[in-house]
């Protein structure tokens, strides 16, 4: 059951400038998506932090289970060969 006394929670993502991706910046309460955009604008972009906002109902986010951290993430720790660190990079290549 949804609690009608409290506005639903939204997660806020802000694109700092064109070409960059939206980054998660925080969350807020709002009665609907449009209000969430307004609140996000007022809370998270008042110091010129962004040029675009996404809001997503927090309940729409599916998170990994902290109890499964070992089985999900531990196995990657000793697979050093997956990192692209075994190539000789020419000096001329600056931005790799």
């Amino acid at each position: 059951m949804e609690d009608k006394r409290q506005w639903p929670l939204y997660e806020v993502f802000v694109r700092a400038r064109g070409g960059l991706d939206h980054k998660h910046v925080g969350s807020l309460h709002a009665s609907d998506a449009r209000m969430a955009i307004d609140h996000a604008r007022d809370l998270y972009t008042r110091r010129q932090e962004g040029v675009s906002i996404w809001v997503v109902p927090s309940k729409a986010i599916v998170a990994s289970d902290p109890a499964e951290t070992d089985s999900l993430f531990e196995p990657a720790r000793d697979k050093i060969y997956r990192h692209p660190t075994f190539y000789d990079i020419p000096d001329e290549v600056k931005t790799l």
Binding site: L28, H39, R46
Partner: protein, 258 residues
């Protein structure tokens, strides 16, 4: 200072610019009263942002007014050291916040006015006013989005919220007449291409408000004659209290710095 303005008209222009600035300053001060008291943290910041936009606009207008006057009064002197009879805002701006719905109704009525006013003022022959209006109109467009969205939510919300905003509308509607009542100063400014014709602003405002009220399922109150002349310095009992709070520090500790 804009060279296009002949000396003889500088007193008139000074008063006109104060009208524009005082509306922003008084409304901004009123909205500031919500800080720490809004129904939700998010609204606290939303209202404060609008208040700060308005005070920013007031600073630009009052600085310009001080330059026109040419007697060494800057924005601070004009804001903090004028008596209420020398304030020229329409008195709608000084009406009490009431509940959140009443604040929203007052905000919608003034936001829509400022939007139509600034869109036209941006084409003023006075370059300084045109520049201030062009900068401010973007802020005001957002203010109206915020306030009208809220009015629709409340008007088309529960029976309780509908009844509250409808009665706030009845309460505040009569004060809107003063916004558009063109006196000699308004007409002179329009004649010289400095300010817009208030009749044009009114008809655009009326169309805009009509659409918002319809969406909010609210009934537009009938127009009634008014007897308020805040634009001439004759105010309701509320302005004195606002100024007392706003000016207290400056009057108690003149030129205080921190």
């Amino acid at each position: 200072m804009s060279a296009a303005v002949p000396q003889a008209d500088s007193e008139a222009l000074f008063r006109y610019v104060l009208r524009l600035g005082d509306l922003c300053l008084v409304l901004g001060q009123r909205l500031g009263e919500w800080v720490g008291h809004a129904p939700a943290l998010e609204e606290d910041l939303g209202l404060a942002n609008i208040a700060l936009d308005l005070i920013g606009q007031a600073r630009m207008f009052l600085s310009y007014a001080g330059e026109i006057e040419g007697r060494g009064r800057d924005e601070d002197k004009l804001a903090y050291l004028r008596e209420q009879g020398a304030y020229f805002n329409a008195i709608l701006a000084e009406q009490p916040n009431g509940d959140f719905g009443q604040t929203i109704v007052r905000q919608v009525l003034i936001d829509a006015f400022q939007l139509e006013l600034y869109e036209r003022l941006a084409a003023s022959r006075d370059e300084r006013l045109a520049a201030i209006a062009a900068k401010s109109v973007k802020e005001v467009r957002y203010h109206l989005r915020y306030s009208s969205d809220w009015l629709v939510r409340l008007g088309d919300g529960t029976a309780e919220s509908h009844a509250r905003v409808q009665s706030a509308l009845e309460l505040l509607w009569p004060y809107t007449v003063e916004l558009f009542a063109a006196d000699e100063l308004d007409s002179r400014m329009a004649d010289s291409g400095i300010g817009p014709r208030l009749s044009e602003v009114q008809s655009a405002w009326s169309t805009r408000i009509e659409a918002i009220l319809t969406e909010a399922t609210l009934k537009r109150p009938a127009d009634r004659p008014h007897a308020w002349h805040g634009k001439r310095g004759q105010h309701s009992e509320h302005l004195g209290y606002i100024l007392a709070e706003m000016q207290y520090l400056q009057r108690t500790y003149p030129d205080a710095r921190w």
